[in-house]
C-alpha cells in the first residue's frame, strides 16, 4: 500500500489551523448576534463589535477557507495521483508563510488595529502589519497553487493520454481559479494599501481600490465552494451506495466555473458611482452564466444519488430518496448542503440582478444570502470532509458517527434559523454592518422579532461549532486504529478511458480566462488613469 504520510502531515497541519481558527470565529459570531440584538446592555460596544466582525469575516473568509482548501488539495493530490508531494520543503515553506501572515493579521485584528472589516474599506486605514499579513497569507497560498499545477503536470508526464483523476482535475481548476482571482486583491494591497498605510504615497483612488477588490470578491466564493462540489462528485456517490452519473459533465462544470467565475465582480458594485451601467450589465450576464455549471452540478449530483438509491432497491418516482445511505455523515451533509444551496441560490438571483439588486443592496439580505451559501452549503461540506478524511489521515476511527450527524443537523437548522430572518430583515430595510439600530421608528421596530430568531440561530450554530472541535479532537486522541486508510473515489457509471485534451488540461482555458479578464476589467481599470481623479487621505476608524 502506498504511504500517504507526507500529504497526511501537510493536510493535518493545514486542517488544524483551519478548524481552530474556525471555532474562535464562530464564538465571535455568537457574541455578534447578542450584541446586535441589543438584549444585554453589558455587551454593547461598537469598538468590540466592529473589531469582532472584522476578525470573524477575515478568519472565516480567508483563514478557514485557505488553510482547509490547501490541506484538502495536498490530500486529494497525494491519494488520487498516488504520488509524494512535489518539493516537500517548498510546500512546508508555503504553509509557514501563510501561517506567519495569519498571525500578523490576527494580532492586529485582536488589538483593534484592523477594524476595517473583511473588505478593508479604504480610506479607513488599518495598521500596515494587517495588510502585510494578509498578503503573506495569499503569497503562501500561491505556493500551494504551484504545487497543485506541478503535481498534475508530472502525473500527466508519467501517464500520457490517461484521464487525470476527477478530484485532481477539480482541485487544479480551483488552484488556477484562486491564482487568477487573487490577483485583484493582491494588486490593491501591494500597489495601494501597503504604500499608502506606510505613508509612502499620500492618497489612493478609492474607486480603483473597490474595482480591484471586486475582481477577487466574487470568484473567491467559487474557490471556497469547489472543494464542497468535489466532495459531492467524487466521494458522495460511492458513500451513498452508487456511482457518479457523469465524469465528463463534472469536468465541463469545473472548466465553466473556472472560466466564468472570475470576470464578473461588478455585481458587487451595482450601486457604486465610479463604474458605468453598461459594464455592470455585461457583468450581470457573466454572473448569470455561472448559474449554468451550478445547475449542471445539481443535476449530476442528484442523479448520482438516484443511481445510489435505485442500486440499493429504491423504487418509484421518489422511493430512491429513502434508500440512499443517509447514515454516512458526508451523504447527509451533501443532502443538507444541496437544500441550502437551492434556497440561497434563489436569493442570490435577486442580488445578482442588475435591476432588482437596489432593493437589497447593503441590507441584511446580503448577509443572509452569503451565510446560507458559504457557511451553510460550503462549510457543512468542510465538516463532512474532515470527518471522512481525519480517520484516514490519522489512522484513528471517527469519535462518534452519531455525534457527527447531530452536529451536521444542528448546523443546518441553526443556519436556517439565522439566515431566513436576515433575508426578511433585509427586505424590511435593515442595513448590514450595524451594531445597534438607534433609529427608534416603525421600520426599526418591525425588525425586533427577527432579531430574536437570529440570536436563537446563532446560539445553535455556536453549539454545533464547538461540537466540531470536540469530534475532531476526540478522533485525534483515540487509541483505536483503522485498517483501511485508502480513499475510495466514486466510479463513473460510464468508465472514462480517453478524454479530449480540452477536458484533461488547462492550457487553453487559462488563455481564455486572460482574454475574458482583459475584456471585462481592462477598460474599467484603465479609466481611472484616463480621468482626472481625486485620491483619498487615510482616515482612522
Amino acid at each position: 500500500m502506498q504511504s500517504y504520510s507526507d500529504v497526511a502531515k501537510l493536510g493535518l497541519a493545514n486542517f488544524w489551523i483551519a478548524f481552530l481558527t474556525f471555532t474562535l470565529a464562530a464564538l465571535l459570531g455568537l457574541y455578534q448576534v447578542l450584541e446586535r440584538a441589543g438584549m444585554i446592555p453589558q455587551f454593547e460596544s461598537v469598538e468590540l463589535y466592529f473589531g469582532s466582525v472584522s476578525a470573524h469575516g477575515v478568519i472565516m473568509g480567508f483563514v478557514l477557507t485557505t488553510f482547509f482548501i490547501m490541506g484538502f488539495g495536498y490530500w486529494a493530490a497525494g491519494t488520487s495521483l498516488k504520488m509524494p508531494v512535489w518539493n516537500k520543503g517548498l510546500a512546508w515553506f508555503g504553509f509557514l508563510l501563510s501561517l506567519t501572515g495569519t498571525v500578523m493579521a490576527a494580532a492586529m485584528l485582536f488589538t483593534g488595529q484592523a477594524s476595517v472589516l473583511y473588505t478593508f474599506y479604504p480610506p479607513l486605514k488599518a495598521s500596515p502589519v494587517f495588510y502585510i499579513g494578509a498578503t503573506l497569507l495569499v503569497v503562501g497560498s500561491w505556493i500551494w497553487v504551484l504545487e497543485m499545477v506541478m503535481m498534475m503536470h508530472r502525473w500527466k508526464q508519467a501517464h500520457p493520454g490517461e484521464p487525470v483523476p476527477l478530484i485532481m482535475f477539480g482541485t487544479t481548476a480551483n488552484a488556477l481559479l484562486w491564482f487568477f482571482t487573487s490577483l485583484g486583491v493582491a494588486s490593491e494591497v501591494l500597489f495601494q494599501l501597503i504604500p499608502w498605510s506606510l505613508g509612502w504615497i499620500e492618497t489612493i483612488d478609492v474607486g480603483l481600490a473597490r474595482t480591484l477588490f471586486s475582481w477577487t470578491l466574487h470568484a473567491i466564493v467559487y474557490f471556497w465552494l469547489i472543494p464542497a462540489y468535489l466532495a459531492m462528485y467524487t466521494l458522495l456517490p460511492k458513500l451513498a451506495g452508487g456511482k457518479l452519473f457523469s465524469d465528463e459533465m463534472a469536468r465541463i462544470s469545473f472548466i465553466m466555473l473556472l472560466v466564468f467565475s472570475v470576470p464578473i465582480g461588478f455585481h458587487h458594485l451595482y450601486v457604486d458611482p465610479m463604474q458605468a451601467d453598461g459594464w455592470k450589465f455585461l457583468h450581470m450576464i457573466g454572473t448569470f452564466m455561472v448559474a449554468v455549471p451550478t445547475l449542471f452540478t445539481g443535476f449530476t449530483v442528484i442523479a448520482s444519488m438516484e443511481v445510489a438509491g435505485r442500486m440499493r432497491g429504491g423504487k418509484g418516482l421518489f422511493g430512491w430518496i429513502k434508500t440512499i445511505n443517509w447514515d454516512d455523515p458526508l451523504v447527509l451533509a451533501g443532502g443538507l448542503a444541496l437544500l441550502m444551496l437551492t434556497i440561497g441560490g434563489w436569493g442570490g438571483l435577486v442580488n445578482a440582478s442588475y435591476s432588482m439588486d437596489v432593493m437589497v443592496h447593503n441590507t441584511q439580505w446580503i448577509t443572509g444570502h452569503f451565510h446560507l451559501i458559504f457557511a451553510g452549503t460550503t462549510v457543512i461540506m468542510y465538516f463532512a470532509l474532515a470527518y471522512h478524511i481525519w480517520p484516514k489521515m490519522t489512522g484513528r476511527p471517527l469519535m462518534s458517527k452519531g455525534l457527527a450527524k447531530l452536529q451536521l443537523w444542528l448546523w443546518f437548522i441553526g443556519m436556517l434559523v439565522l439566515t431566513l430572518p436576515w433575508h426578511i430583515m433585509g427586505l424590511l430595510g435593515q442595513p448590514r454592518r450595524i451594531s445597534v439600530a438607534p433609529y427608534g421608528n416603525e421600520v426599526a421596530k418591525s425588525w425586533i422579532p427577527y432579531e430574536i430568531a437570529m440570536v436563537v440561530g446563532g446560539a445553535i450554530l455556536a453549539v454545533s461549532a464547538l461540537m466540531v472541535l470536540i469530534i475532531l479532537l476526540g478522533t485525534h486522541l483515540r487509541r483505536a486504529t483503522v485498517e483501511d486508510r485508502e480513499m475510495a473515489y466514486a466510479e463513473p457509471v460510464e468508465p472514462v478511458l480517453r478524454l479530449p485534451a480540452l477536458l484533461n488540461g488547462f492550457g487553453f482555458w487559462a488563455a481564455v480566462i486572460v482574454v475574458y479578464l482583459i475584456a471585462s476589467y481592462g477598460y474599467p481599470i484603465l479609466q481611472f488613469f484616463l480621468m482626472d481623479t481625486h485620491g483619498a487621505f487615510p482616515w482612522s476608524i
Partner: protein, 164 residues
C-alpha cells in the same frame, strides 16, 4: 465523450432558463429605464465646501424649471446634510450625493433609492417616490465607529402640500 440523453435535455433547459432570466431582466431594464447609479463623475471630496454644487448654501431641495425636484446632499461622518429632506410624491427626483470623507451608502426601505457614496465621486440617483410618509434613510456602509448613528429622514408629501 458520453452524455446521457436526460442530461442533454437538462443542458438545453439550463441554457434556456439562464438566457430567459437575462432576457427578462434586460427587457425590464430597458422598458422601465432602470439603471443603477453609474454616472462616473469625479469630485474633490476634500474641497466640497468650495464647490459650486456641494457648498453649504447650495445643498438641499430645489425645484427645477421642468417641475422635477433636485436634492443635493453631503455625507460626512456621522450624518447626512441636510438631515431631513421633503419631496413631493409621484414627481421625478434627482438626488446627488458626495462624501466629504470616507465611504458611505444610503438607502430608503421600500424604494429603489440605494447608492454607495464613494470619496472622489458623485453619486446620482433618479427616482420617483410613490408613497407618502416619513421614512428613515440609513447609512448602509461601514464608515467608522459612529456608523450606527448615521441616518437621515425622508418625508414624502402630497403634491399640493409641497412647499420650498
Amino acid at each position: 465523450m458520453h452524455i446521457d440523453a436526460t442530461e442533454k435535455k437538462w443542458i438545453y433547459l439550463t441554457f434556456l432558463m439562464t438566457f430567459a432570466g437575462i432576457g427578462v431582466l434586460a427587457a425590464y431594464a430597458i422598458k422601465d429605464n432602470i439603471y443603477p447609479p453609474s454616472n462616473v463623475e469625479t469630485i474633490d471630496s476634500a474641497a466640497l465646501h468650495l464647490s459650486d454644487e456641494f457648498n453649504e448654501d447650495a445643498i438641499g431641495v430645489r425645484r427645477e424649471k421642468d417641475g422635477s425636484i433636485r436634492v443635493t446632499m453631503v455625507a460626512a461622518r456621522y450624518g447626512f446634510f441636510p438631515q431631513g429632506i421633503t419631496v413631493p410624491v409621484d414627481t421625478p427626483v434627482k438626488i446627488r450625493i458626495a462624501s466629504a470623507d470616507v465611504l458611505h451608502g444610503i438607502h430608503t426601505v421600500d424604494t429603489n433609492f440605494n447608492t454607495m457614496v464613494v470619496p472622489g465621486y458623485v453619486s446620482e440617483v433618479n427616482t420617483t417616490f410613490k408613497k407618502t410618509g416619513t421614512f428613515p434613510m440609513f447609512c448602509n456602509e461601514y464608515c467608522g465607529l459612529g456608523h450606527d448613528f448615521m441616518w437621515a429622514r425622508l418625508t414624502v408629501v402630497p403634491k399640493e402640500k409641497f412647499k420650498l
